[in-house]
């Protein structure tokens, strides 16, 4: 039996700043389970493996496998994908960000929204939540961020053809990273508005794929960033399978965290811990994580 993986973040506090930031990410080799399987088995297995963004994982896997097999892609089920995206954003914004700034999480109201999210009152309940709970909470959170006036981080672009070429040549693109805590926070707020508007207008969920001749790469946006699956089929079976999740990109090394905290003053040790927690939350790892702060 394997565990869920773990992210360990270490940093030192010295001279009013965070220094010597390091990260270590351990991930179970789940995609290896797909090697030797048929595309049909992989599509059925994926939802059992992934808890968060399970709808996106399933849709991206199906699209990558279809492209690799040269088959027409089945239309994605858009509404659950948008709801899943909203769910992940609202969890961070109503439970995790309030806790990270010392406010009480909106646990009961989020649980109530969550329990009815697949029902007939989704639109009304989501509008109420955004206008009456998220809006005042977001003002409190932004007030606690030193760079509160920074605009939202750019929406990551889908580029499956670029990723396919990169995979085949072995040099993967560097993902777009938020440049500040407030940019990451504001990007979440913007994506909540986008997802809610898309639900209202019944827009298709963005999915993109590229490939052929046994190769397939598919992508979709998720609440953490762009999710990418890559597959190589040989004689109708999976010869290679890759999952490039946002957590892998943001925590492959300490660059993203260090960049977020580069100009953030931490005059006290408590402030250093406070900002480090917020920076990890801004990058939103999808695995359990521990943060260790030491006097450097």
């Amino acid at each position: 039996m394997i565990g869920p993986g773990q992210l360990t973040v270490r940093a030192g506090w010295l001279a009013g700043a965070l220094q010597e930031i390091s990260v270590h990410l351990e991930r179970p080799p789940a995609a290896r389970l797909f090697i030797g399987q048929t595309p049909g088995v992989v599509v059925k297995t994926v939802p059992y493996l992934y808890a968060l963004c399970g709808e996106a994982q399933r849709a991206v896997a199906a699209r990558a496998l279809a492209v690799a097999a040269g088959e027409p892609a089945r239309a994605a089920d858009d509404r659950p994908l948008w709801i899943e995206c909203l769910h992940e954003h609202l969890w961070r914004l109503l439970l995790d960000w309030p806790a990270a700034i010392g406010e009480a999480p909106e646990r009961e109201v989020f649980a109530a929204w969550r329990n009815q999210r697949h029902g007939d009152r989704l639109i009304q309940e989501t509008r109420y939540l955004i206008d009456n709970v998220l809006q005042p909470m977001s003002e409190k959170c932004l007030a606690a961020l030193v760079d509160r006036d920074t605009p939202a981080a750019a929406v990551p672009r889908l580029d499956p053809a670029g990723w396919l070429a990169a995979w085949r040549t072995g040099v993967l693109p560097t993902p777009v990273r938020p440049l500040s805590l407030a940019a990451a926070y504001r990007a979440r707020l913007a994506e909540v508005a986008t997802a809610f508007a898309a639900l209202l207008a019944e827009h298709p969920y963005p999915l993109a794929a590229a490939g052929g001749d046994g190769w397939g790469v598919a992508q979709a946006p998720t609440a953490r960033g762009v999710l990418t699956h890559g597959v190589r089929l040989v004689d109708g079976r999976v010869a290679d399978y890759r999952v490039w999740a946002p957590t892998d990109a943001y925590f492959a090394d300490a660059a993203a965290l260090s960049s977020l905290l580069a100009d953030v003053a931490c005059p006290t040790r408590d402030m250093a811990a406070y900002r480090l927690t917020q920076a990890v939350l801004a990058l939103d790892p999808c695995v359990p994580h521990v943060v260790e702060l030491q006097d450097a």
């Binding site: 039996m1 179970p28 995609a31 389970l33 992934y50 968060l52």
Partner: protein, 85 residues
């Protein structure tokens, strides 16, 4: 968590909390986002919360998948590539 490893509830505690067994490790989590959870039930956990309850058959099937992944880890060389997760 990203991976949907079923955790079995082994003890209910005050304040909508519970102790679960997750891959052999016991930890306290919140049940405030799910309803009607009892000792013996399986839940999926993320950042200290139970995300949802799953039926025992589905839990068994999923635990078998993760056991297979554990065996694969022992059989295949670890190339350190996180994209194989």
């Amino acid at each position: 968590m990203c991976l949907a490893i079923p955790a079995q509830v082994v003890e209910l505690r005050e304040g909508d909390n519970a102790v679960v067994d997750l891959a052999g490790v016991r930890k306290e989590i919140s049940l405030s986002l799910v309803e009607d959870v009892a000792v013996g039930d399986y839940v999926i956990v993320h950042v200290g919360y139970a995300l949802n309850k799953i039926d025992p058959d589905e839990a068994e099937k999923t635990l078998k998948l993760f056991a297979d992944i554990g065996e694969l880890r022992g059989q295949l060389p670890d190339d350190g590539d996180p994209t194989r997760h």
